[in-house]
């Protein structure tokens, strides 16, 4: 593929990929790491453009996922991160989770990381089990089973925390 055609192809998919991956990262990491990982993800997409399938956003999620895992592994977390955020990139308010549903945040934190990640892909990235299977590189069947378990675990966590049920009931109570 010549340079211009390659570039044109990349430019055609870039807006959708950038939008999706930015959100994906905003949900999972701090802004500074998100910027780094976004650049890295795009670079890999560009280099492997020939291997890009039609489902380019799902493919990009898979790449971003690996890059993020590398970034998490590679960094000496607390001190460096704190220093970097303070120096280069003050936290943005946009990526703060909406206040209010602490019960859910806690419940998610109480799940195994793989379960929480499945639920995020399902609810936040709004992916179907078949699409999640592409991102994670596993079978659709496996996703269905694990997703079912993850939802059960989340309900369990919410129940355990009590506040979760209370949260719903109190809303209803107010309506009445």
């Amino acid at each position: 593929m010549n340079v211009d055609a390659r570039r044109a192809r990349f430019e055609a998919v870039a807006p959708a990929v950038i939008d999706a991956v930015r959100r994906y990262l905003a949900r999972r990491t701090d802004p500074a790491t998100a910027d780094d990982v976004l650049s890295e993800t795009l670079l890999i997409c560009w280099r492997r453009l020939e291997a890009m399938p039609d489902e380019h956003v799902l493919w990009a999620y898979g790449i971003a996922r690996n890059c993020l895992a590398n970034a998490d592994r590679g960094r000496r977390r607390q001190a460096r991160l704190a220093a970097r955020i303070a120096r280069l990139d003050p936290p943005r308010t946009v990526s703060e989770p909406p206040a209010g549903d602490d019960g859910l945040t806690d419940a998610l934190a109480g799940l195994r990381p793989e379960e929480a990640e499945l639920l995020r892909l399902w609810a936040w990235e709004d992916l179907s089990p078949a699409q999640i299977a592409v991102v994670l590189g596993v079978s659709v069947n496996a996703v269905n089973i694990r997703l079912h378990r993850a939802r059960t675990s989340l309900r369990e966590q919410l129940r355990k925390r009590g506040g979760a049920a209370g949260h719903e009931e109190s809303t209803k109570g107010r309506r009445r």
């Binding site: 950038i18 650049s39 560009w46 990526s95 989770p97 909406p98």
Partner: protein
């Protein structure tokens, strides 16, 4: 709680719900940064520092080489040849009225794995002692012969030979290495090809523009 309720509740807590879509400017910037292959430097700061130091040294050397000979291209060429330790052979002096092509020999950059800082026209203008455009006519015994079509800066030459040692993948922008028949924009400093976005396929987005800004007119 049904699956739908659960999903709705999760969605309500989506931290990226209020993330605005990227602006066209932001997309353009990210695309440009990506396709011109400028990797993120933050994670390897020590390499970046080393690269920056090299560039500074090169810039100093380039300035020292070009300064005394601004009005004497031939002298400049000779000085450059004597000074540059890694230049393999002296270039033919530009003799008037001869048919003999003027050949310059330079080396490909060694396999540096450092990530690069963004190329700038200023640095290119300061560091390069030779910058030209040409077509690869022969790749043979690790020597690339380039037929020069335009010299942006430095001594006039008709042919430039680049000693391409081993694998130089991902050093030139574009395809990564010199290929037969390809058109390239090449800059060299002290007899060594400048990489990190300063040399590459002539069609590389932004590269011609970079040369235009570094060597106007």
């Amino acid at each position: 709680m049904s699956d739908d309720d659960l999903r709705a509740r999760l969605r309500h807590a989506d931290p990226a719900a209020s993330v605005a879509p990227p602006s066209p400017d932001e997309i353009a910037r990210l695309v440009e940064t990506t396709v011109t292959n400028v990797p993120v430097v933050r994670r390897r700061r020590h390499y970046a520092l080393a690269a920056a130091a090299l560039v500074l040294v090169a810039a100093g050397a380039g300035w020292a080489l070009t300064r005394p000979a601004t009005n004497q291209p031939t002298a400049n060429q000779t000085t450059a040849n004597q000074t540059a330790a890694n230049r393999t052979a002296a270039s033919e002096p530009a003799t008037d009225g001869r048919d003999e092509p003027r050949t310059v020999r330079i080396n490909a950059a060694a396999g540096i794995r450092a990530k690069c800082v963004e190329p700038s026209a200023e640095r290119l203008a300061a560091a390069a002692d030779l910058a030209f455009e040409g077509t690869v006519t022969r790749v043979e015994n690790a020597v690339v012969t380039i037929d020069v079509s335009r010299v942006f800066h430095g001594a006039e030459a008709d042919v430039v030979q680049v000693a391409q040692a081993g694998e130089t993948s991902e050093q030139l922008t574009g395809s990564g290495r010199f290929e037969q028949g390809g058109r390239y924009l090449v800059a060299s400093s002290e007899g060594t090809v400048m990489i990190c976005g300063y040399s590459g396929e002539a069609g590389t987005p932004g590269l011609r523009d970079l040369y235009g800004r570094a060597f106007p007119g």
